[in-house]
């Protein structure tokens, strides 16, 4: 590995969060629905009633 690559990796070792990932949509309602699904993904937690009707996100690019 060259010096540039090594230095780059040393400075970018942080985990990527959802908001940093490229999205298939830029629509706020769809982003909200996508995030709610991620937040309540394992079935242990039930989304509040008002949050259940988010629009489905589009397919990934």
């Amino acid at each position: 590995m060259d010096q540039n690559s090594e230095l780059f990796l040393a400075r970018t070792g942080q985990p990527t969060r959802w908001e940093d990932e490229e999205k298939a949509t830029n629509d706020v309602e769809q982003l909200r629905a996508e995030f709610r699904r991620r937040l309540y993904a394992n079935g242990d937690a039930t989304p509040p009633a008002g949050d259940r009707n988010g629009a489905a996100p589009r397919d990934a690019k």
């Binding site: 230095l7 937040l39 993904a41």
Partner: protein, 539 residues
Amino acid sequence: MDADQFLRLTEGLTGTPAKDVSDTDRGVLTTLLADEARPIGFSQLNELLLLVNKDRMERAFYDYFFQGPCTVGTLAAGVLRFQKTAMLRFGNFIHAYRTLARFTSVDELKAELGEWAALPAALAERFAARSPKLVDIDLIPRDHTSLVGYISASEVVAEGGRCAFLREKLPAAEALPVAAWPEYEAAVNTAGPRERPALQGLVANYRKKNAGATVAQFAEYLAGVAPVLEGNATRLDEVRAKATRNQDIYLTWDHMDVYFATSMRKRWEFEDLFDFVNGLVGHAELSALNLRHFDPTQAYTKDRVDKGLVESLMLKRAKCTVYSVQDTDTLGKDSELAATLAQGKPVIAYVPSVNLDDRANQLVAEEPATVHDRLRFVLYADDQFAQSVTPEDFAFVRGFQALEQFERDRVWRTVPDPASVAAFRAAHGADLARLCRIVASSEARIYDKRAKTLKETHPLGIQVNLATGVANGVLVVRTIPECAELLRRVVTNALEFELRETAAMWYLEERISGCVYRVVSKDRKLTNCFWNFYRRPPD
């Protein structure tokens, strides 16, 4: 002028070699052309052309290109005027001469030349006389422009969602005073597995900053933060609504002069473009023209298909594209550059020229998170980084991890935390200044290299008008004043060129940018094949 010089002029005029010129003909030419002041009338020029076996021209051609009293000494200037026009309009000399030499009136000839025959003053007057906009866009302020993009929107959505979730998992009010962290953290861990690390990090960062804080105090803290996050969400919705209306307004404008091609993800990319667009269109060079432009920081389309169609329409309508070379070079921006060139329209590429002191100071004033992002960008984009810094600076960049730590310790990204920023600057001011200077130097290298690539090395820095075959080169500028002057000259047909000739080609070099704008290859095989297909009628 001697006979050889005249023969070279006729080759430049007709685009074909002078053949079978006898010694007798040369002798006549030598005599006729010895006096530079000798007037050369329309019919006399034709007689000279026929003498060297070249096609004659109609009066309109002579009047248009050999203006004024034409003499032996001014023949070269007339041929040069024709060659420049031929390259601009036709991309070659042969077809240009054959076409233009046959027109019997100057008006017909001008009609064939179209925009290239328009007078700059008349065009400037036409721009100034246009009606003002009936409806203007509602300007989104600089520091809100990034909300048009997906990264800022995602941050607002995610942090609002996380805060709501954390509040939802708090014990009931009566249980809060005695609530313990393990039980609360267990409740937080019921979140989806991919979101858990972010939530756990958020709670951990709060507890690290507030040693000994209880769950009840965290509840109070969240109650204080929630309105800020809700305010962000409201602002996001307002900006998107405004940008959607702006998009509709752009669509209805009866004039569209300039399209800005750009790729924006990060906040500073929106803000840099906002500064560039407003600095450019507000420049004194352009103010009298009342140009209309499409500013992507001010418009939003929900659907990606519609967004693509809107941008395609703007590319069709605009007279030229200003391509802003920012951090991210993407398929979208490069496609817009190509689509503009393929229509035969000019592309001005703006590659910022970095002043090291100014840029370093600007970076120091940014939030540490932004400096961190800039560092990551230059380490990714500057393949000469390690080779270009001193060993001491390399070791410093390798070892200075305070930025990452600041980033890791942040509780929220979308809630300002001036106290933490001030504390960071107090603790690391000197190191931060050193790092910002290293980053600024690297940015300068990156932009210099991009300018060189577009201007000198990339074959697709020159593309072709697909309808006519005329080669069309990108014009690269490094400052806003240069960009403004070039843009004014583009829209008023006032560009100035030098015609250069090498062993391989003729090319037009634009004066302000120093870039190649038009080319005529001397490769016979390529030229013959190229024009056989480009000038062929559609199947």
